[in-house]
Every structure is written in structure tokens, then in C-alpha cells.
Amino acid sequence: MTEKKRPLLKKFRIENFTSIEKAEVVLSPLTVFIGPNNSGKTNFFRALDWFSQLVSENRSSPFAIKRDNEGYSRYFHNFTSKKICLTCEYEGINHDRGLGLEIEEKETKIALLEEDGSFITGADLLKGDATREIREYFHQLRYFSLLPKIISASNNVFVDPEISFEGGNVTAVLDFLKGEHPDTFDKIERELKQCVPEVERIILKNLPSSCKQIGIKEKSCDKPFIGSEISEGILLFITLLAIIHQPNPAKIICLEEPEQHIHPRRLRSILDYLTDLAYHVAEPVQILISTHSPYFLNYFKDRPEEVVIVDKKEGKTTFTSLLEHEYLFQDQKEELSLGELWFSGLVGGVPKP
């Protein structure tokens, strides 16, 4: 009997999506994207996020989809072609097939790759059984670009909340966990205290009209710190832990710059949590991260297949695997860390002079 493969997006192909004219990106259970500002890392996440919404929500008009009031129509045909093509290859889901979307202004064509390599197309593909598993899978893609200001704001508490794109609803999620899944809440608190030993506990302060606001109590201080009084790094740390331990975890998490506001020495803890989530749990989650931190990248020296280098050449985004620079690691007299190699420009992914 063959072992069941873990669900995994293996490749994502993008054509004519903002700065990406044509690209194929090979994905690992944990993939880290490095590159200068404005190279196209976020565009990759947006394309995947859009694809997931189109597939899982079966929208008749792709351009009606919005993420935080930001329309997607502006991503349409920056290049000469008048259609965007997004294709995903996966395994462990839907008999290891692939799914492709061709998106034009008035019509979306859907194609499903069969096991024998042929394609079937049809307008109703996203409604039928043939794509049910993959639709459900993509329904659980979550994309985060966390902002401490949003995390620290007060929340209405409600049942089954979810953390939003910028980190909204963290207090509501923690409150829900504390009430319905106290073990998970304790785990988050314990892991926070492990990384930030001065923290005694997480506080969810009651405010008028069923609102609550996040706070922390420190061992050395009687007065708790509430909302924006909390260190931004700790707010992000709590949010990352809440994302990781949500009762209904995502299947794919796209995370922009998790190193923001976090001390370089604590990045190891973040990576450890993400690595566990991607590889060492019963139901692993695929993690895609962008980073600007050479310290964070240092941990990937022995995992080059997990690093994608993003650059922009003549206005077009390119993606290269660090594996293509493997010859650099054949040199036995190694002194430089991977972060230093990246900073030097040897592997690309640096701003142009």
C-alpha cells in the first residue's frame, strides 16, 4: 500500500499578472522568498491569494473580488497579452492533478489536468465533484501582512473568529480559544513565555459593548500593558502563535516578513514554529514567507530548495531557486553565512546599484 502523500502545492505558474510576465515557481512545504523591495514577492502572494479565492469561491467575475477594499482588476494585463493565466500543480489532493485558470476581462476559463496529462475544460468545473477537494483546500489559504496597530486595536468578540490579513481579530481569536479551547490558549501563553520570559500572562481586557482588547502582564510590573502599550514585537509574536494554533488551521499560509519588529535572536523561535507546522505535525501546513532579514535566511543554508530569489529585470519579475547557485556551496572553505552571501549580491535578490 502506498503511503498517502501530504497535500502540497508543488508549482505555481503565473502569466501576465502585474510585474510577472511569465514565471514558474517550485514550492516546498516551507518556502522563503527573498528579493529587493518592489521586485514582485507580494505580487506572487497576491496572485496565489486571488487564485485561491477564484477557485474556492467560484466567482463569476474575478474582478469583483476584493481584499480589504482593494480591487484586483488593476492586476490585469500589464503586458501585451490580454489574459492572465494562473496554473497550480499539486500532490496529495484531487489525485495529484493540476488546475489552471485563464482569466480575461469578461470570462474565466478553467482547465483541469487529468492523470494522463490531458486537460478537461468546462465552465462548471469549479462546481462539480472533480474539483471539490482542491476547492476546499484553497478555501483554507490565508495571507497575512501583519500590522501591530491593527493587532492592538479593540475587537468585538464573536464565535469562530479568524485573524484577518493585517492581524485584525487577534483578541477575538484568543478570547474564543480561551473559552472553547483552553488547552490551545495555554499553549500559546506557554510558548510566548518561553520566548519572552518576562511575560507572565496574556490579558483580554473587557471593554464596553462586548469589545475586548489584548494586553500582557509582565512579572516585574503590577500594571498590565494594554493594546498599543505592548511592544510591537510581542504583538506580532502573539499573532504568529495564534495563527499557528488556530483551531481550524489554514492549509496554506502566506506570510509577509515575519521578522518585522522581532529581535534577530528570536527569529530562530519563529522559524522553529513554522518548521514544525510545515513538517512535524499530523496535518502539516504549507508555509510561504517573504523576508528581508539576512539573519532569518542564515537558517536556510542547508535547505537551499526552500529559498526562492526574486529579482526584477527590465521591469519584469524573475524567480530563481537558490539551488541554481549550489556550486557556491561546493567550496569547502566556507566562512560566509547565507545571509552574508545574499547581502553581497552573489546570489541575486539585492537592490540594483
Partner: protein, 205 residues
């Protein structure tokens, strides 16, 4: 003729000044040869061994995966043993103690080795004590006697360099300086010039 060079240097000042020096020295021998810097590898390391590692990896990149006509590599000779062309006594092949000899030995090893297959000519620049000493003549007659802080201060009256300062202060000096006089008075520059001369002779062959 067009030549493509890769520059491995410490930072912004080298990035702006060294292409000018290289171009001007090449023009000294051949007016119609232009050089373009196709890649700048920035040296983030403070340890000598890390610079040598970066040199090896840059060499491998342009020997195995890409192509370049010249590898231009260097760093400031600050607070360390100096190598001047008229004084080779400190140079021990087994254990070089100055930046110039360390870089030279590493390049020679790479060029002698059967792997990687394609050899890249390299030119080393190790200004004593900083690149500013190549720009201070004739304002300062013996600029290599200054510490790097003194040299930077004398050149632009600040240690807090920015792109604007380097563009306005260093760049015009590099474009106009008398190469012939600089060779006579600044030995670390002469050492750089002599390597360009050797390179250009080999290019003609």
C-alpha cells in the same frame, strides 16, 4: 573593444570610484577599450577569511555560471600590514600577512586549479589605508602616511559619507586626477596600475 568587469568591494565609495580608476588606467594603454561593471559584489565581512571566501565564490560564479573579462577585487588596507611594490620582504608564500598577498595567493590558487575550468584575470586594489588616499594627491603629498580617518576627513571633512558626498567629492577627483603623478606618489595605486598594465599586455597577445 568592450570589457565586462565584476567588482568585489567594500561599499559605496569603491562602487563609484573604482570603475573610474579602472577605466582611466585601461585608457592609458588603449583608448578605444571601454569597461562596464556588470556586477557589484558587496563585501559585508570584517574577517579576512570571509573576504577570501567571498572572492572564491565570486570567482566560481563567473567561472562556472556566468562570464566576465576581469575580476576587480579589493578592500582598504586599514590598520594592517601593508604591501607596497618596492617592499616585498613581508610576503611569505605559506602564510601571507597583508591583504594584497592573501588575495593574490587565493587568486593564484584558483587560477592554477583544474577546477573551475575557466580562468578569469583578476586585478587587486588595496589602497593604503583607504581609497581616499588615492584621491588626496596633490593636496596631500604623502597620503599613504595618513590613517584612514585622517584621509577621509582631509578629503571631504566628514566621516559620515553618503552617496551625495561621494558623487560630489570623490567622483570628480577620480575623473581628473593625474594618473602619472599618482603612480609616483601613491605606491598602493602604482601596484594597481601595474596589474592593469600586465592585463592589457596579455589582452593584446
Amino acid at each position: 573593444m568592450k570589457l565586462e568587469a565584476v567588482l568585489l568591494g567594500e561599499g559605496l565609495t569603491e562602487q563609484i570610484v573604482m570603475p573610474i580608476f579602472l577605466q582611466r588606467c585601461i585608457h592609458y594603454f588603449q583608448k578605444d577599450t571601454d569597461v562596464t561593471i556588470i556586477d557589484f559584489i558587496e563585501n559585508p565581512a570584517t574577517k579576512d577569511s570571509k573576504l577570501l571566501d567571498l572572492l572564491r565564490k565570486t570567482y566560481l560564479k563567473y567561472s562556472i555560471k556566468f562570464q566576465a573579462d576581469i575580476l576587480l577585487v579589493g578592500r582598504d588596507n586599514d590598520n594592517k600590514h601593508k604591501h607596497l611594490p618596492h617592499d616585498d620582504k613581508h610576503t611569505k608564500k605559506a602564510e601571507p600577512c597583508c591583504f594584497f598577498c592573501k588575495l593574490k595567493q587565493e587568486i593564484e590558487e584558483l587560477q592554477k586549479s583544474s577546477w573551475p575550468p575557466r580562468k578569469i584575470p583578476a586585478i587587486i586594489f588595496v589602497p593604503v589605508e583607504a581609497i581616499e588616499s588615492w584621491l588626496l594627491y596633490p593636496k596631500e603629498l604623502f597620503p599613504e602616511n595618513l590613517t584612514r580617518f585622517e584621509a577621509k576627513n582631509k578629503l571631504c571633512e566628514t566621516l559620515r559619507l553618503s552617496r551625495k558626498i561621494v558623487e560630489e567629492c570623490h567622483k570628480p577627483l577620480a575623473e581628473k586626477i593625474d594618473i602619472h603623478a599618482l603612480r609616483k606618489n601613491v605606491k598602493s595605486f602604482d601596484l594597481f596600475f601595474l596589474q592593469v598594465e600586465t592585463f592589457m599586455k596579455q589582452l593584446k597577445i
